[in-house]
Structure formats: C-alpha cells, structure tokens
C-alpha cells in the first residue's frame, strides 16, 4: 500500500500501483497516471476505453475482458493496442483507476 499526492488529491495505491478506491478517480488523475505509464497525452479514444472499463467495473466489480471491451466500446483490437502500447490489460486498468484485471481473456 502506498498513499501518494497525485493531481492535487491524496490517493491510495496497492503494491502494484493500482488505485484502491476507484471513486476517487478523475480525468486529471488519469492523465497523471498515464504519464507515469509512458502515455503522454490521453485523447477522446483513450477516454472511451477508460470510461467503458469504469462502467463495467462499477456494474460487475471487475474490469471487462479485452474481447468485451473491443466489441462493446467500439474501439477495435488494433486501435486498443495502439492506444495503450505495452499491453492494454493492466495499463488501461491502472489509468482507469480500477483494480488489477482478474480475467485471462
């Protein structure tokens, strides 16, 4: 556990740097985490992904599978991987402020 000052807020992170409480999230926090993850700017398409992940997390208690994400958010697989280079699964979840993905797909 680590508590950090980030984008003017005090946020708790787990050992692997995922936010503990997704309700503390806002777009400025997302932008700061994205920079830490090597993504300098977040555009509208990033936020389509992030908001879809957050909505799923809110409803199901866990983030979506990549398949569900690409089919239902309207962001195809190729674009998803281009938006989050270095692996969309964990990276997007971190930036979306939700916990570590539990699925294998």
């Amino acid at each position: 556990m680590a508590i950090r000052e980030i984008a003017g807020a005090t946020i708790e992170f787990d050992e692997e740097n995922f936010m503990v409480d997704y309700t503390q999230w806002n777009e400025d926090i997302a932008k700061t985490i994205a920079t830490e993850e090597g993504i300098d700017t977040l555009n509208d398409r990033h936020f389509v992904v992030l908001n879809f992940m957050r909505k799923e997390f809110e409803e199901k208690g866990t983030g979506p599978s990549i398949r569900k994400l690409t089919k239902q958010s309207g962001v195809p697989t190729k674009e998803l991987y281009a938006l989050f280079p270095g692996g969309p699964a964990k990276k997007a979840a971190k930036i979306a402020g939700i916990t570590k993905p539990q699925g294998c797909i």
Partner: protein, 170 residues
C-alpha cells in the same frame, strides 16, 4: 515484485488439433499480448487444423481415447472422478455434444471461437506461423490457411524468429 527479469517474448508451439488442445495455445498467446509480451504461435502437425479455413471452426473434443475426460461435464452432474466410458464416447454425436458443451462454457467465459480468436491475436500484434514440413505432409497450401497466418516457416526459421523468446510447447 520478483527478483527475476519479466518475460518479454514467448514462442508457443501448437502441435495438436483438438479443440481442448488448441485453446491453451491461443489463450496463452493472447494473454501475453494483453500484458505487452511479444507472442507468436507456430502451428505444426495436427495443430494445423486450428488454422485451416475448412477446419478452424470445426475442431472437436475427442471422446475416445481421452483419458482425462470425465463425467463431470456441466449437464451431467456426475462426480469428476468418474471416467467417461470409451464405448459411450464412440457413439455417434457424443464428440459433437462434448464439443458443443465446451464451446458453450468457453463462450460464457468470453473466450471467442477459434477463428475470431486468431483474428484477435493477430490484431493484437501476435504473430501466427505454419510449419512447412507439416504443410508438405498434409499437402496444404498457404491458401488453405486463414488470412491471419503470416508465413510458412521451416524449423530453422522458427528458431530464428524465436530469438530471445521463451519457447512453450502445448
């Protein structure tokens, strides 16, 4: 965090063509890409079934000679320790039924059908290759394979492409 270097690249060999034998390779390759690990799959011998246009969505679960198969399949509610009788497995339609059940369970877990899975892995930057020797043996041409297959490789070429990778045989 581990004291070891994270895995950066995997080369997966898929040498068998049953539905239950192909999925592990696809799931592991896709899972690697999801975490930013470079991934390729080399399909050889009956593994070629998984990438043949005519076979890709017709893979089956073997119900004869499959010692791991048991009666605990979802509809049956028998104990997992009860083996699947070989004679029953030989009845017409039983393999199709077992296949249908597995596909059904996979769909519930959001695991795509094989053709869609190959497309997903390819779109995710995973590389898919066919084995030249096995292609020659089965008299197959590149046109017989799904479009996602990038190349037909000799064993030597496969090893070249696997430089720096962990090689996984499924």
């Amino acid at each position: 965090m581990s004291e070891y270097e994270p895995i950066k690249k995997v080369s997966i060999i898929c040498a068998k063509g049953g539905l239950d034998e192909v999925y592990p390779a696809l799931i592991m390759a896709n899972g690697a890409r999801m975490d930013g690990i470079e991934a390729s799959i080399f399909f050889t011998f009956f593994g070629l079934n998984a990438i043949m246009k005519k076979m890709v969505d017709n893979l089956k679960v073997a119900t004869v000679g499959n010692a791991a198969l048991n009666m605990a399949m979802p509809m049956m509610k028998f104990p997992i320790t009860m083996p699947f009788p070989t004679l029953m497995g030989a009845l017409p339609g039983v393999s199709s039924l077992a296949t249908w059940m597995m596909k059904n369970e996979m769909e519930k877990l959001d695991v795509p059908p094989v053709s869609e899975f190959l497309e997903m892995i390819s779109d995710a930057g995973g590389e898919l290759y066919a084995c030249k020797l096995a292609m020659d043996m089965f008299k197959l041409k590149k046109d017989d394979l799904v479009d996602e297959i990038q190349d037909v490789l000799t064993v030597g070429e496969f090893y070249e492409k696997s430089a720096g990778a962990q090689i996984i045989f499924t």
